[in-house]
C-alpha cells in the first residue's frame, strides 16, 4: 500500500493483512443502504463492512440485489437512503471523488478494447485513472506482471484467450497502487478452471498485501477459498453473515456453503 492508502486506513498487521482488526477504519462501510427501482425495493436496509486486508464474499441468487449493491458501492447509483464510505470517506458530497479514487472496480463484462494490445489497453485506463505520464509506463508494466501477462503485452486483446482477457480485466484495477478496495463483480464468468484458480490466487495475493476485496461470484469454491467473511443477501437484505466456517457451523448442520445457501434462501444460487 502507498502513502495515500496508509493515511486513509489504519496500519495493517505485520505481513500485510490486518485481518479485520477492530480498531481499523473499514475499507468499505455500507450503512443501512436502501435503493428501489420504482416500487420494487432492490436493496433493503443493507449494512456490512469490509476491513483492510479482508476479502468479503457477497452471495445471492439472481435478482437478490447483488449487482445493485455493487453499483451503490462503486457510486454508479446514489442510494435512496443510507450511505457508503470508503476508508472513512463518504462517496457522496465533496469527498466523493477522493473516496472513489480509493476503490477499483472489476466489472463482470470485459471492459477492454479487442483491437488494442494488452499494453495499449492498460495505457488507456492508466490515462483515465489520471496516472502521471512519468509513472504510466511503469504502472502498465507492473500491472501486467501482477497478472502474469508481461510476455503478451504487445498482443492484441482479441488474440488472447478468455482467461487472459479476464486477467487483463483485473489488471486494469491494479494499475494504481493507491487503491484500497477492490470490487469484483463475478470476475471469473466464462473462464476455465485453471484460469479461475490463477485469478483467485492473484486476488488472494492482493488481499494478503492489505487490500480489501469485495467479491461476488456464483462459484462457492472460489468464495470459500478466497473470502474471510461472506454475506448472503436475498430480496435486498442480509440474511446471514460470518466466516465461511462460522456460517456453515451456525446453520442447520448442512455440509457446505452451497447447501446452507439453499437452506437459507430456499433458492439455488444460479436461479
Amino acid at each position: 500500500m502507498d502513502a495515500k492508502l496508509e493515511e486513509a486506513t489504519a496500519a495493517p498487521e505485520p505481513g500485510g493483512r490486518s485481518g479485520g482488526g477492530a480498531a481499523a477504519v473499514p475499507a468499505l462501510a455500507c450503512r443501512d443502504l436502501v435503493y428501489a427501482f420504482g416500487d420494487r425495493t432492490a436493496v433493503d436496509h443493507l449494512s456490512f463492512e469490509v476491513r483492510p486486508g479482508e476479502a468479503y464474499g457477497l452471495l445471492g441468487p439472481n435478482g437478490a440485489g447483488k449487482t445493485t449493491t455493487i453499483r451503490l458501492v462503486c457510486g454508479m447509483l446514489d442510494p435512496d437512503d443510507g450511505g457508503v464510505e470508503v476508508c472513512g470517506r463518504s462517496l457522496r458530497g465533496r469527498g466523493g471523488r477522493a473516496a472513489r479514487g480509493l476503490l477499483r472496480y472489476v466489472p463482470q463484462g470485459l471492459a477492454l478494447f479487442p483491437t488494442l494490445t494488452l499494453a495499449e489497453n492498460l495505457d488507456f485506463w492508466a490515462r483515465m485513472y489520471g496516472i502521471d505520464r512519468r509513472t504510466r509506463a511503469g504502472a502498465v508494466r507492473r500491472a501486467l506482471e501482477l497478472v502474469e501477462l508481461t510476455g503478451r503485452a504487445d498482443d492484441r486483446a482479441e488474440r488472447t484467450s478468455g482467461g487472459m482477457q479476464r486477467r487483463l480485466n483485473l489488471a486494469v484495477a491494479l494499475l494504481d497502487e493507491g487503491a484500497a478496495l477492490l470490487v469484483l463483480d463475478e470476475p471469473t464468468v466464462g473462464v476455465d478452471a485453471q484460469s479461475r484458480a490463477a485469478l483467485i490466487e492473484t486476488i488472494g495475493g492482493l488481499r494478503d498485501k492489505g487490500m480489501a476485496v469485495l467479491y461476488t461470484s456464483h462459484y462457492f469454491d472460489e468464495v470459500e477459498r478466497l473470502c474471510d467473511r461472506v454475506g448472503i443477501i436475498d430480496h435486498g437484505r442480509l440474511v446471514l453473515e460470518g466466516s465461511p466456517a462460522e456460517v456453515v457451523a451456525g446453520g442447520d448442520g448442512t455440509a457446505d456453503l452451497q447447501d446452507l445457501f439453499l437452506a437459507v434462501t430456499g433458492r439455488d444460487l444460479r436461479e
Binding site: M76, A111, M128
Partner: protein, 375 residues
Amino acid sequence: MSRWAGPLLATLRLDLRRWRRQRLAALTALVAPAAVAVIVTGALGGEPRVDTTWAVVDEDGGPAASAFFDRALTHPAVAEVATARRLDRDAAVRALDGNEVSAAIVLPSGLSEALAAGDAPAIEVMAPRTDSVGTDVARLVVDQFRVRAWAESTAVGAGAEPPDDETWPLTVAVRSATGRDLDAAAHYGPAIGMFFVLLALGFAIHNHVADRESDVLDRLTTAGVPAWTVVAGRVLAAVTVGGLSLAVTAATMGVVFGRSWGPPIPVVALVLAVLVCYAGMAAVLAAVLRTSAQAQVATAAVGFVLALGSGSLGPPGTERPPVAVLVPTTYALDAFAELGVAGAGIGAVAGYVVLLVLVGLGLLAVSAPLARTMR
C-alpha cells in the same frame, strides 16, 4: 492536464487508434469518398440536368399548333431538356396518372383562330399529382409560346416584321431554392461528403453503445471520469475521420474534374460548421442510446431523415418535402449551392454557418447532462 482534458484526449486517441486498426478503415474513409466523387462527378459532368417527357394534345389542328410543334418544341433550349409525345386527351391523362410524363400540354380547339384575331388564349398544362421541374418547365415554355405567338400575330396584323427565332427569349435554367444556378456536381459533392461524415459518426455511436454494453462506461464512471468528456472525445475522433472523408471528396472533385466547391475559406468555414452540427446530433444520440439494436435503428433513421428530408439524394432543383425546413442538411446544401456561384464569399454563407454552429452547440450542450447518466 485538467480533469476533463486528459480523459477527452485519451478517448480521442483511443478511437482514432481503434479506427486505424479496422481492416476497412482506409477504404471507408478515403477510397470510397474518392471513388464515389469520381463516379458522380463523371456521370453528371457538373451540368444542370433536366430530362423530362411531356404529352402534347393537339385539339386545334391549325397553324398555331404546327408552330408549337415545329418551333417551340424543337427550339434547342427546349429540345435539350424535353421530349414530346403526341397523344389524345385520354391517353395524356393516363400517362400523367402513370407518371410517364411530367406534364400534358393541351392546345385547345380554336387556338389558331383566336391568335389570328389578336387574342392570347389560354393553353392548358395538366400536372401530375406532384409537380416536378419538368412540370414547371412545361408551364414556362407554354407561357413564352403564348406571348411570342400573340406578339407575332399582333406584329403581322400591324404590318410589322415579326421577331426571328434566334432571339426568342426561351431559356431553361435549374436554380436553387435561393435563386442561384444549381450545379449538379456541386450539389452531389457536398451531399456525398456529408454522407461519409454521418457514416463516421454512426461508427462512433456504435462504439459508444458497445462500450456501454461491455461495462467500459461503468468502469469509467467509477474512475470519476466526467461522462461528457468521453462522448466529446469520441465525437471529436469521428468528425476528424468524417472531415477527412469530406476533404477527400472535395479534393477529388477539384483535382480530377476541376469542380471547385467554392473559395477555400468559406468552404472550410462551412465544412467546420457542418461538422459541429453533426457532432451535436451524434453526441445526443450517443448519450441516450442504450443498446446496439437501438443504435442500429436510430442511426439509420437519422441518416435517412437527414438525406431524404433535405432532398440531398434527389436531383438538384427537386421540390423538397415540408420537413426540409427542420433538417440541418438542407441549410448546408443551400450554403454549398451559394458558394458555387462565381464571386461568392464568406458573406454568402455566413448566416448558414452561424445557424449550423448554433444548432450543433445547442445539441452539444443538451448532450452533456444526458451523458451524465451514461451508464
